[in-house]
Subunit: 215 residues, 4 copies
């Protein structure tokens, strides 16, 4: 009755799967080489198809960038939502948001550094996405303020703190090596802990001195 439909992916599902694969490959290439230096030829070759084939899934190179950007921000907001749902102090919410964001960025998509390339966006996309990014940053600053208010975070300039945190996080894509000694889990936890210590009202007395051996 259901014929093959239960076991064979539909055409739409195949299409979507390829779309996602392309997106990830693009994110990876943009992150490694920068938007302009990464050519569609490179991306296509890694996927084993021709450059022209990509246009079945995305209308333009800039559209790929836009989507990377948007997905990264989505993940950010998703992290925010989960952290808020979990509750706790401002500091706890901040930590949960960052840990989730880091983990997703590192492990799932390597979109994060794409956020660096805002100037490569088309003017229209720029306007749209920068608005969202600012909202995300403002939300993070609000968590800092909340933490300062509830005593969990040390008094500090929220704007500067968020810039510092995001810089540290975006930089990960520059040094993280998928096949290196550090796992995505370890890095997202360890980096969150380190940044936590920067703003925590009650900083811990010691951190793991070697990520690989941390629990």
């Amino acid at each position: 009755m259901t014929a093959w439909s239960a076991v064979v992916p539909s055409r739409d599902e195949l299409h979507e799967a390829k779309r996602v694969a392309l997106l990830r490959e693009a994110a990876s290439a943009f992150t490694r080489k920068g938007f302009h230096a990464a050519s569609l030829d490179d991306i296509a070759q890694k996927l084993g198809v021709t450059k022209a084939a990509l246009y079945h899934y995305f209308p333009s190179k800039h559209a790929l960038l836009r989507e990377c950007f948007a997905r990264a921000l989505e993940v950010g907001f998703q992290g925010l939502a989960r952290a808020r749902a979990q509750g706790g102090s401002g500091r706890e919410k901040l930590n949960n948001t960052l840990r989730f964001y880091l983990h997703e960025m590192i492990d799932e998509l390597s979109c994060c550094v794409v956020l660096t390339e805002e100037n490569a966006l088309l003017p229209d996309d720029y306007v749209d996405l920068l608005k969202v990014r600012d909202r995300f940053e403002r939300a993070l600053r609000d968590l800092i303020r909340e933490g300062i208010a509830d005593g969990s975070i040390v008094p500090c300039d929220p704007k500067l703190a968020v810039f510092t945190i995001l810089g540290a996080i975006h930089w990960v894509s520059k040094w993280f090596n998928q096949s290196g000694a550090w796992s995505a889990d370890a890095v997202s936890t360890a980096l969150t802990d380190l940044l936590d210590r920067m703003v925590s009202a009650t900083p811990v007395a010691a951190l793991p001195t070697d990520i690989r051996t941390a629990t």
Copy 2:
């Protein structure tokens, strides 16, 4: 008696001045747009000359990148040397190094983010400069270890700490605005203090909540 020589710049001085101006403009463009997206036409236009004129001062676009890279690293080592000369605990040396580096990068050249574009370097330059950059990062890690040993810095993973610090610092070029409300002095001090709190064995109880009003 001294003729004009005391007041009128010599040809060599003029040449050097233009060379530096070009270097700064290039650093700024590379930082804002990325190496590949920044065109020599843009840079030349900002300087009010033709693209071809640039070739009087640099043999190639890649040479500009190489020099930006090299200058940023020079500043880093200069900061290290000064900090070592000043002495103090590992933590103090680290802070002094970072504050100096930040200040120079922000105020003098905007080379810093160029360090992000290592993949744009020519293979030969890559080999040369990455060696130097690694030496710089190792020196910073050594300061962290020194601080851990002398009790001024909290036990932590030195490698991760340095990555985090450098990420935060390089990110500055993304958000710092020469004509904004924050001065270069204020930013370099405030950011250093924030990063210091992350690794200090004796974190301060409060930081300025608004950089503009900080002393």
Copy 3:
């Protein structure tokens, strides 16, 4: 039953046909104007396409030159092989080689003068191809020596003789006019006969005084 395949060229055949057309056009342009003076724009325009289209068939302008060079040498060695197979005295072999080479160069490709532009080759190509060209010239000198030994060729300096012969041959591309009064056949025969007289041990008493009327 054979479908269209017997009459309609396949895509690969089309590709190869265009490649050859490009090669000939390039050889012609290089010969007429010299490698540096001949622009890809000119070549493309003659073929009715854009400059960028050429890059589907050759990776670079220098690759075109390299291939012209290589093909000309191939033809030379082919002539040598045929002459050797036909046998005869050293003089006969020399004549057969030259006549074949001339005919092919004039009629098929106009690569010959490209051999003049060895300095335009990339260093790597230069090393490779000059080696082959030297081998070709040595083979010609050996034919001369063979002819001297078997009495068919007058005693002379083989090196100078070969230089002279090749100079005369390469020069053809400067004055030969595809649409002129002289046919490729006539020229290759007449020029070979003239050069033959230079080195023959038994020079003929007369040559045609007008190529057009020669049989």
Copy 4:
């Protein structure tokens, strides 16, 4: 009374000397690399001055080429005039002309191959100089005809014979090496003898088998 004028070259003489030096250097560069590939920078550097300095002696690069061309043709006509003055058969006149031309080209200026670059001439120069070159070639053909008429030259196609002779001669610049084993004298004599044998009605029975040992 004559003050220094007898021993010190006048300003005009200095100027002329530099002009000639430049001309020779240009001819050499054009011959080696071709007109377009030879840059004024190269030429200037070899002369130890700046590119801009050259413009004191020649109004343009094309003017240098024109003059090279013109000088080569002058030498050709000079050879013709001397040969005619010396008298003899058509064959003797031809030999004398060629020997003189070759000797001057090789030893004095290296202009000869410049004659290859007629397409690099400016349209106006082209019209002027090609006229002269054609006159030169016609004069050579006339010598051939004269030789055929007086029985000193074998019946042959004069046009083809002259093309062949000129090709062999122009090619010299490709292989002649100022510092090689062959002297300019030896080459001009030996090559003339070889070409003579090609057209002589009474070809010699042997030629030197090694130029270096020829008298």
